[in-house]
């Protein structure tokens, strides 16, 4: 059971009392209604990782009142709970919290069954069955079955191949037809033509008692291609599920106060301007609003990129998505959800979506060149043999043989197999690839634009002058700070990490929102917070201080903490001749400090969300291909506008869904790693395409001369596919040593990227 200790990393971020999941109102709101008065709630529980966790969670949840069924899915790290409606939502999150598991709701719609995958796997099963059986029959034909037996075998093959073509082939035919209707071609067009012609000609051949039928070729072609397609889909789906499982930041609902003193919990979409909302500490502002009562500090990092919390008092305007840190507020909604800041970002995103609209995938570009050449060759072969031999049947057979032998089995696998291997390696390093073309686009970039708060930095302050403060004062400050979730308090509390705060027994501690914390021990009153409030005579002192009865004990200074590996990652990007710049919504002095620490010279500060998009458009107009890395709501339009985009796991919901890559680990080393992997993948894809062309250069003359029997076709196609797959898998094996030594290196706090020499050893 030792492996079942609570997820230390996840919990230590917050004091234990604050590590809470969604409230019961939110659970009710997000649950699905099943028949017979039962509701189902699905929660992401990132901490489950072994059989004991499963048994633990299922038995605990199963024993709760009103719970009918609880089931853990270890692969997706989710829990489904079915509960009876009449009893109200059971305390699921509390129960999980007591077991030490953090839980959260995930994006709705994510729990729908993956129909595409099911269709692909069913198609794969049927194609595999058909290919295997037809191949067995074909082997008998090749070993010398004659006359009636051969015809019987051919007819049987035709019978088996028909459902395979109709069911499994659908996936290709549909996509090919879609492309043709829009006047484009893609990889599926030559595939569909090849498969269908092979089947049609073999049927004719069989009916006329001919010796050569290519049923095996058409079935095994479908089988091979479906393997590539299915792996590709599984890989991307795994990434998408992992990203959807991350905690949501947007509020789902809010507690509305009515004039008569009662309150109800309403979904965000039902909140009307003018309604009064009760917002407790730790909640996010659901819609744009104005403060009516109360004082607090707001964390705006994810909304505007400002790194310092903002103190608010009655009359202040709040933007949807900001986090209330310290005190309860009563706020009045000033806009509906669909008119709030978040919705405005969505509109900007839609407007900016053209960023990658014009991109055509390598496979499609290759097939645009390839298909006309192949089809023209087949046509010329037909004409040539008609003129030379005058035999219609023979000319047609040879033309179809050319199509079959060139049918892009290898070409169809060349791209997906490499991308699957690359995505797998990135997945192992905590980087999720959401889109197959993302790696192709990433390999082309020459500029990286970073957001600052939350991307280059963690958006969390760190104490920098601990050596000037006595250990006793620091321990006292940390013990007081434990009572607040203000980022500065958390930074102070972290300085004592592991050590017990029990030696201080306070008679009372209270948080004064907007100012700081006040603690009493006997007659002494300690204050931790703004200098002007904590000190009897502040004078010129500003910033955060600890005072005893108005006398200064210590002054603290903080700076935003850089992400691990930030400097190394920027240096690596410079090494690769990639231009780096910062576009941030924060104050210019804060941006300049980070930029100089990282050696970045091009910066823009105080930029609005639309300004970020304009900056990207300007870069695009210069002909640059830009990777945008950002996390906030204000970055989301820019993420959509960039050629390719990346977001950390801590990013805002819409930012994460707009980004092509999401990296789950803290370190920015993910960026050069992803770039290298993508570039290497692109190199292998090109190699594979060259291999496919070389194969064709050898095979086509043989086909043109009329020497391609079904046996030759089967051998040639399998050989070329195996070569391409083997070449693609080099990506997985060649670097496994490197990723292993990276994960070791990733453990120390400041991670240094392994040098080329270290990797070679």
């Amino acid at each position: 059971m030792s492996c079942c200790l609570p997820d230390v990393d996840a919990v230590s971020n917050l004091p234990a009392s604050l590590a809470k999941g969604p409230s019961r109102e939110e659970l009710t709101l997000s649950s699905r209604v099943l028949p017979n008065g039962v509701r189902q709630t699905d929660l992401a529980v990132p901490g489950v990782h072994c059989g004991a966790c499963i048994a633990n969670i299922e038995s605990t949840l199963g024993n709760l009142d009103g719970v009918e069924y609880a089931r853990v899915n270890l692969s997706t790290k989710r829990v489904s709970v079915r509960w009876r409606e009449n009893a109200g939502a059971p305390p699921i999150t509390e129960a999980l919290g007591q077991l030490g598991y953090e839980s959260h709701l995930f994006e709705q719609g994510a729990d729908e069954k993956d129909e595409t995958l099911a269709e692909l796997i069913r198609g794969l099963g049927i194609a595999g069955f058909a290919a295997g059986n037809i191949m067995l029959l074909s082997v008998s034909v090749w070993s010398g079955a004659e006359a009636a037996t051969r015809d019987l075998f051919h007819w049987l093959s035709a019978l088996i191949a028909l459902p395979a073509l109709a069911y499994s082939g659908r996936i290709f035919f549909r996509s090919a037809w879609g492309a043709l209707r829009n006047g484009r071609t893609n990889m599926d067009v030559p595939i569909s033509i090849g498969v269908l012609l092979a089947y049609g000609m073999s049927l004719y051949e069989t009916a006329t008692h001919g010796p050569h039928a290519y049923f095996d070729a058409s079935a095994s072609l479908l089988f091979f291609l479906l393997i590539g397609r299915t792996l590709d889909h599984i890989m991307r789906e795994r990434a998408r599920v992992a990203v959807k499982g991350l905690a949501r930041f947007a509020a789902r609902g809010a507690t509305i106060l009515h004039g008569d003193g009662t309150s109800t919990y309403l979904p965000v979409g039902d909140i009307e301007p003018g309604m009064n909302i009760m917002l407790s500490a730790g909640e996010r502002v659901p819609v744009d609003a104005r403060v009516l009562k109360g004082r607090s500090d707001l964390d705006c990092a994810i909304v505007s990129g400002e790194s310092d919390p903002v103190a608010v008092e009655p009359g202040a305007e709040l933007r949807a998505g900001t986090l209330n840190l310290t005190g309860p507020l009563t706020i009045e909604a000033t806009a509906k959800a669909q008119d709030s800041f978040l919705a405005e970002m969505m509109r900007l995103m839609e407007a900016a979506e053209s960023g990658r609209g014009g991109y055509r995938r390598i496979a499609d570009r290759a097939s645009a060149l390839y298909a006309p050449v192949v089809h023209l060759t087949a046509f010329l072969a037909f004409i040539g043999w008609m003129i030379a031999a005058g035999d219609f049947h023979r000319a047609l057979t040879i033309a179809v043989a050319v199509l079959i032998i060139t049918c892009p089995c290898a070409l169809g696998l060349a791209v997906p197999i490499v991308q699957v291997a690359a995505a797998r390696r990135l997945f192992e390093n905590g980087i999720m690839v959401k889109d197959g073309s993302a790696m192709e686009r990433l390999a082309e970039i020459d500029t990286v634009v970073f957001d600052k708060t939350g991307t280059l930095t963690l958006g969390m302050p760190r104490l920098v002058n601990s050596n000037e403060i006595s250990a006793r004062d620091l321990a006292l400050a940390a013990a007081i700070a434990l009572h607040s979730r203000h980022p500065i308090s958390r930074a102070l509390a972290e300085t004592q990490d592991g050590k017990s705060a029990a030696e201080w027994s306070f008679d009372a501690v209270q948080e004064v929102p907007g100012f700081g914390l006040e603690a009493a021990i006997g007659d002494n009153v300690y204050r931790l917070g703004r200098a002007a409030w904590a000190l009897a005579e502040a004078g010129s002192i500003v910033g955060t201080v600890l005072s005893c009865n108005g006398e200064k004990l210590a002054a603290f200074s903080f700076e935003d903490r850089l992400r691990a590996g930030a400097a190394a990652a920027i240096a690596e990007l410079h090494d690769r001749q990639i231009a780096v710049e910062i576009v941030s919504g924060d104050r210019s002095d804060a941006v300049a400090a980070v930029a100089s620490a990282l050696g970045i010279s091009r910066i823009s500060a105080g930029v609005l969300p639309s300004g970020k998009v304009e900056r990207l458009d300007a870069l695009k107009a210069e002909g640059r291909r830009v990777l945008m890395v950002g996390d906030g709501l204000n970055d989301a339009p820019a993420l959509a506008a960039a050629h390719v985009s990346m977001a950390p796991a801590s990013a805002a919901d819409i930012g994460r869904s707009a980004a092509d890559f999401v990296f789950l680990r803290e370190s920015l080393a993910a960026i050069p790693l992803t770039l290298d992997t993508s570039r290497e993948a692109n190199r292998l894809i090109r190699q594979n395409l060259v291999l496919a062309v070389v194969y064709n250069a050898i095979a086509v003359p043989i086909a043109l001369l009329g020497f391609v029997t079904p046996l030759v076709a089967a051998l040639a196609m399998s050989l070329s596919s195996v070569i391409v797959i083997a070449n693609g898998l080099r990506l997985g094996t060649g670097k496994s040593r490197r990723s292993a030594c990276e994960s070791e290196a990733a453990k120390p706090t400041t991670k240094v990227f392994p040098t080329k020499e270290a990797m070679a050893s």
Binding site: V72, S75, R122, G125, F129, G132, L136, L152
Partner: protein
């Protein structure tokens, strides 16, 4: 030839049985939690 008439249907039937079993296992959700299934077998109460 008579041997073939007997053996071919048997072979295809067995192959079809395998395919049907696969499709059934897919439909009944046995591939939805591969990691979980590997761990659950070690739990006593199933």
């Amino acid at each position: 030839m008579t041997g073939l008439l007997l053996l071919l249907p048997i072979a295809l039937f067995l192959g079809g049985l395998g395919l049907a079993a696969f499709l059934w296992s897919l439909k009944s959700g046995q591939y939805e939690d591969m990691d979980g299934a590997a761990e659950r077998i070690l739990n006593d109460d199933g």
